[in-house]
């Protein structure tokens, strides 16, 4: 800690580059959704600008940190920032879990006439209020869409359980890495970090395989409220695992560079918490989608 004066950040161009990158990304995405020909390239350009900004901005922060420019006040700011980010992440996933449970427990039974609501076969002929609801009622009868009636059961102890085991094992290896960092065992720390990253990558590989099977079998994002909530929950979770793997890799690089010591390793702690959170979200998914 170089001094305890109030920290005033220097002028930087990264925020405006970030704004340009994110705006370009969303303009491209929105137009791609409307099948505009230049949507994809603009979206990719926006992603590249955003990635460039993150690499540059976070790189600047790391350089400033290791050169001793930050004092205890900056440390508190980082901790508060991470805590608010964590809060937003918890709320983000709470909304999707809430949507899944609301649809399953309340809205679909209501459509079937429970709790004195309207009996929907009067609105949609052939409608059956069952879970999972794989057809959006309003689509039935249009373009040859019919209510799904034939299902096959997914083996809970197949890929879903294997992926749960993989992520939980990565939580164990990360805990050993955390212990090694606190004990000053650098080689063990790097080995456990590598194991954690490898498990995360294998998880993502299996997740892509599972998506391939599900899509091949006809479970799509458009497969009613079940398809929507299933892919939103598991898709955003997979996105978070991808981000987690990238962040763990950056942390491994920084460990190799000797950026952390027994007292000062906030970046490791932040990423470690994030990975534990992603792990718990998956455990929640495994339990609420397959068991309860």
């Amino acid at each position: 800690m170089s001094n305890e004066k109030y920290y005033v950040p220097h002028g930087t161009y990264w925020p405006i580059i970030g704004s340009i990158g994110i705006s370009t990304l969303f303009i491209g995405f929105a137009n791609q959704m409307h099948d505009v020909s230049w949507g994809w390239p603009v979206m990719v350009l926006g992603f590249a600008i955003t990635a460039f900004m993150m690499f540059g901005w976070l790189g600047t922060v790391v350089t400033e940190s290791v050169s001793g420019m930050y004092n205890s006040q900056v440390d508190r700011s980082f901790r508060w920032g991470m805590s608010w980010f964590i809060f937003s992440e918890v709320m983000f996933f709470a909304a999707f879990f809430g949507a899944l449970l609301y649809a399953r427990v309340l809205s679909v039974p209501w459509l079937g006439g429970e709790y004195n609501n309207i009996y929907t076969p009067q609105l949609w002929e052939g409608f059956k209020a069952s879970w999972p609801l794989l057809t959006t009622p309003g689509d039935v009868g249009q373009n040859g869409v019919a209510f799904s009636t034939n299902f096959k059961l997914v083996n809970t102890w197949g890929l879903p359980a294997l992926n749960t085991g993989l992520l939980l094992t990565s939580g164990v290896t990360l805990t050993y890495a955390h212990h090694a960092l606190r004990a000053g065992h650098r080689d063990a720390l790097m080995a456990w970090m590598l194991a954690t990253i490898a498990l995360g990558v294998v998880f993502l590989g299996f997740q892509i395989t599972e998506y391939g099977h599900a899509y091949h079998d006809g479970l799509k994002l458009t497969s009613g409220i079940y398809g929507s909530t299933f892919y939103l929950l598991t898709g955003f979770h997979g996105f978070h695992v991808t981000i987690g793997v990238i962040m763990l890799t950056v942390i491994l690089y920084r460990i190799q560079k000797g950026h952390f010591n027994l007292e000062n390793h906030f970046a490791f702690e932040g990423v470690a918490w994030y990975w534990h959170f992603v792990d718990v979200v998956w455990l929640g998914l495994f339990i609420f989608v397959y068991w309860i």
């Binding site: 034939n150 102890w157 006809g218 007292e263 702690e269 918490w273 339990i287 068991w291």
Partner: protein, 72 residues
């Protein structure tokens, strides 16, 4: 049995929350608190997964059978 599973999940979230408090606090005390909380959370998570495995083998709990795929 479902209530037991949910209760363990709630406790896991409690320890995850406790780890955030440690992260926010910082310093040696905060770092210790965070590490211990995360260690308990992973132990409980592995226990819950193994419990589900054993419980389903003994028929104490069964998958909800909601995880269906349409057959074409």
């Amino acid at each position: 049995m479902s209530l037991f599973v949910i209760a363990i999940l709630v406790i896991i979230f409690f320890f995850l929350g406790s780890a955030v408090i440690g992260l926010l606090k910082g310093g040696k005390a905060g770092s210790d608190k965070m590490f211990k909380a995360l260690r308990v959370r992973i132990i409980l998570s592995v226990f819950l997964f193994i419990f589900l495995l054993v419980a389903s083998q003994f028929g104490w709990i069964e998958p909800n059978n909601f995880n269906l795929l349409p057959t074409q």
